[in-house]
Amino acid sequence: MILQNFLTLLLVLPFVGSIAAALLPTSRNAEALLAGSVAVAGLLVTIALYPVVANGGIARYDIAWLPSFGLRLTIRVDGLAWLFLILLNGIGLLVFLYARYYLSPKEPAARLFAWLLAFMGAMGGILLSGNLVMLVVFWEMTSVFSFMLIGYWHRRPAARDGARMALVVTAFGGLSLLAAVLLIGAIVGSYDLDQVLASGDVLRAHPLYVPILILVLLGAFTKSAQVPFHFWLPNAMAAPTPVSSFLHSATLVKAGVFLLIRVSPALGGTQEWFTIVSAAGLLTLLLGAFFALFQHDLKGLLAYSTVSHLGLITALIGMDTPLAIVAAIFHTVNHAIFKASLFMAAGIVDHEAGTRDMRRLGGLWRAMPETATLAIVASAAMAGVPLLNGFISKEMFFAQAAETYDSSLLDRSMTWVALIAAILSVAYSIRFVHSVFFGAPATDLPKEPHEPPFLMRLPVGVLVVTCLLVGILPGVTIAPALHTAALSVLGPDVPYYSLAIWHGFNLPLAMSIAALIGGLILYRLLATRITTAPEGPPILRELEGQRIFERLLVNVSWIWARRAFKLLGTERLQTQLRILVLVALGAAAWMLWGAEHLKPIGPRNFDPLFTVVWAVGAACAITAAWQAKYHRFAALLLVGGAGLMTCVSFVWLSAPDLAVTQLLVEIVTTVLLLLGLRWLPKRREEIAADRGLLARARRGRDLVIASACGLGIAGIAYAVMTTPPNRGTADWFLQHAYVEGGGTNVVNVILVDFRGFDTFGEITVLGIVALTIFALLRRFRPAQESSDRPEQQLRQDASDTEREDRNVGDTLRDYLAVPSVIIRWMFPAIITLSIYLFLRGHDLPGGGFAAGITLAIAFLLQYLGSNVREVEDRLRILPLRWIGLGLIVAALTGIGSWLFGYPFLTSYAQYVEFPWIGKVPFASALLFDIGVYLLVVGATVLILVAIAHQSLRAQRAAESEEEG
């Protein structure tokens, strides 16, 4: 149990710390203290785990997450993860201390520390993952947090560009990795790391081995900045130095090599692995070192040097001998230690001297002797000087490079590539030290350089002392941990190796000496030329991965996208709708083309009266389509006619519920459209262009499309109607409606009981639509030319002025005088009808929808019959409250069934005896129907009133203008 708690703590603590850091007030001390405590806790917990993993053991904690999908949260620590965890927490601790002094008091410390801690959590997650899916998730998280950290100074364009570039490249790699993981999971049958590692033979023999390998390598190479994906790392140097030191030298970029070491037992050991991985590694090693020598920016030099060292580690992993793996792990640790300290030293120089340009710096030895000493020792470790940690792992690399593998060109060139890269590495290390700390003292620095505070130097000192300890006493310091890590990767066949400084005079030692001397000479020869030349290496200066990337990005996201849109897209609604209709038509035709012909059976009756009904209906529909452009009012009436015929059909064919609802909706829709007509432009004259040949051709084409749609749907409808029904569902509802739903109107019982949840969704949609309309119309400005008073009113006023016995406005007031009285008297009658329709709904045609719309019509008539202002003085309708109340009632009815231990919206039916009235059906569905009723009233009234008010608004605006 303690073990499990420890593992959970390791995973969760940094994230908790991150949230806490984000919430703390911005104070550098508090933030650093918090972050430091998290790191110390992580370090202590990790150390406490050592006995478990020491002899090849694995600490595991399985949490079932989605067991049915084989997804588990598996926290797993073995020797390799343990070593990386120590690095992560240890360097994290030092970086937090350093960052405390690096940040100026004005900068937001909370943001930096929160993201740093979040990154630490994500990186820890990669190390702790015992499940590949989980690993990918944390992998992508590190990309995101790295993005946030590189972009910390988000006002600088370089920071934004660098952050975006790093995110695009590494997230692309993450997606490849995800694809690889899914393939691996499909082949192995599990995402569990231990099972995958044990299935190496299956994976290597599988035909998909090469695609998987390439996808995994894309993930690892982008993260670990291997050529040709290296360019994001130098651009990431726009980040604050603590970030560069932590993420871009010690941890994040090591995730790639960690992954390669991790999966090497499962995917390694093949010719493809050797060729691709070591070739990429060697190329990166060489190019990185070459580029590094020609940088003028301190951090640029270190970034390319990091690229180069990552290449070295990758090359070692590619060789894939047990000794090479040991060397790879060892060099990963060494590099993290000396490179983190070098970044911190570079940050101190930048901080105290105000520039990182090596051409301007010089002679800082006098101003900051202690920092200089530390930086010199660390650079020596980077160059591979004996008695320092870099020396030992580099020797191991030389020894491995000199080995013979498959005698290919790659194999034979390895030794030379290693030697040349080592010479370059010595040269740039010397350049780093020489140009900053020696030579003529700089005179035009932005700041007067001096030693930084002791605590800012302390982290550098700790790391440099570690370099020395590992370098001088490897057997005591690093050997046990390294052995544990190697044991966890290689299993019992860890080879014999000795971590000694002196192995006698052999080839690696000769190579080291040659590299040191060669590097010194190279720097002497090139020093002046480098300083005077522009930044970047000769010959390859023009060929920048960064520019290729930018060009590609612009092409894909802008130029190609625009071209594709021009080619395939359209902004025209008509074209879009035409495509939509054609696709629907095509899909239906494709599905039904080869279908077995339906055999019409059963009685087909012919009813002359029904035929007359639809002769009228069809005439209405066609004329409406014909006249909709120039004679809107006529078209509107004709649509009403078609609607009435639909309504008649419903009555005819035994669907009274539909007929009632259709009729009521018809009324409301017509009124709505009538209200809308006022806001459309006048159109009486014929448009000349409409008579053109092109317009005729367009209409002809649309006519063909429309006819095809009509024919198709008529054919389907006829075919279905003349075949025997499949009434399974219908019978079930008919049998259960009364017994279980307590109502004889089956349609209503389906709506409010069996499919109550659907209806709940539907009324929610209705409410949303009403609110949307309300909101849209509040912002809307009616068209200027339509805002004037209608012609009819003007004419009425004119006649008033002419006649002596009348005042202006009299005719308007008397207009519709008789109907308005009738309407006023009908108000209570319609309300009663509405309640009647509602109450009988469960047993007879009617129900919440129909009743709601009826009540809305009652309100609507008041608006139609008299002056809007008068109506609103007498009647206060609050449609928004109706909508809210309706939703609440419906939801509470549903929730009520929870109280009795039933699922949402389970209904209960009973007859209740009322005095005078008699037995009344009472079902909980009735309550739900009340909700429907209220909402329908509210929504319909809200929509109508919102539109009706537009003319009032225009009028008010005009009045206020007159007054003003």
């Binding site: 909706v665 749609c709 409808a717 003349t722 009364y738 929509i943």
Partner: protein, 114 residues
Amino acid sequence: MEAVLAIAIGILVASGVWLLLRPRTFQVIIGLALLSYGVNLFIFAMGRPRTGAPPVLDKAGIVDTSLYADPVPQALVLTAIVISFATTALFLVVMIALRGLTGTDHVDGKEPDR
């Protein structure tokens, strides 16, 4: 009767689709109304509607369910009627707002360049 209903559905849908492809907002809104009649009748037709089939149950109990009208398409259409009302209303308001904003009732918000 089946043939008449099928033809009616066809004509409603054809008129609706034709209007849907027209350039003026009002034409499209009328088209949507016609199309929704057609589609509602089509869904309704899937239940093989008949004349004189009782839609409401007898409280005495069920004798033969096949005598009754199919309630499932009816329930679907009832929902569809209400939703198409909402769509029409929303479209109408967008139409009005578009006209106020752009000064034209063309569906693209600008007169086509001819």
